[in-house]
Symmetry: C2
Amino acid sequence: MDEKGEKTVSSALLAKICGRNAAQIRKDLAYFGEFGFRGVGYSVKDLLNNIKKILGSNKEWRMAVIGVGNLGSALLSYKDFLKQNYKIVAAFDIDPPKVIGRLSEKLGKPAEVLHISRVNEVAKERKIDIGLIATPPSEAQGVANLLVEAGIRGILNFAPAQITVPIGFVVKDVFFTTILDNLVYLLSTETGDSSDRK
Amino acid sequence: MDEKGEKTVSSALLAKICGRNAAQIRKDLAYFGEFGFRGVGYSVKDLLNNIKKILGSNKEWRMAVIGVGNLGSALLSYKDFLKQNYKIVAAFDIDPPKVIGRLSEKLGKPAEVLHISRVNEVAKERKIDIGLIATPPSEAQGVANLLVEAGIRGILNFAPAQITVPIGFVVKDVFFTTILDNLVYLLSTETGDSSDRK
């Protein structure tokens, strides 16, 4: 909306876009502060800035992809990251000559894949905040240990393996099979609701 | 554990593996039935079967990947699906000559990519339950419409675009940026908890 130059938005419109109801939108936002004006709605620009501040996405987050197979390549060319302040500044693999897709330069992505042994040094040089693990599951904990040693506090783990990190570090798992389990549970119990967003 | 021939498991061990506490594990499982025996724990085989039944994963779910770029290719070679009863039986693209990785045959994956125009016919022939949308966001709703027309009730949407489906169909979104938003929110507010699983 901000890109389109829209100035205000109602909770009803936000609700429609999100597939929720307007009262819930107002309640959720009110939890963080008074952002809206009765009869007017929300200022698009102010709401956007406030949400970014709440989410911690008002700063640039610098990321590294570890493991440049199909999934790692998909992450390196994932355009939606750029709309937020998520910037991939490095890519690592045990087989560094792997080529990143031709789009990489255009998207401001790292132009070369580095050997994983350089992660500690490069993490400091390029101020990496977050590591995206896209390795085979057998390598995930080892890579997580390297990221922790390098002081990279956030990990998005795409490898289907449970990894543990010390206190002060944060892991979010993206397990496609677990998400499918959730979908088929909904399909099995589905009684007419049209999506998980309702 | 079942693969390793282990007969029983305690809630304490399950808790450790899941990064939760034993009381929560017992409470969660008790919600669905009496699966455990005091002082003994759970029968691995029975618990596995019960969980599969609860999740709806005791049957085979037949899936199609739509969009065979980097992400679609990653999904086609995602080995973890095979551990559950998730089987990819078709792949579609608007540019069907795209080659699927050399692993595909070994993994029992479809050996050829079909043109998206064939989705209706093939969905019926191959009894497809679930579509994994891995197209650019601009194509996601159009593909979802085709899947709905073909009677494919479940959609896992990897394209960063909101899609809507009629009542009776289920969509789960896998938006990497949203998951990152969640991670950086935890990083911004982190006070010593070591992961989202605790």
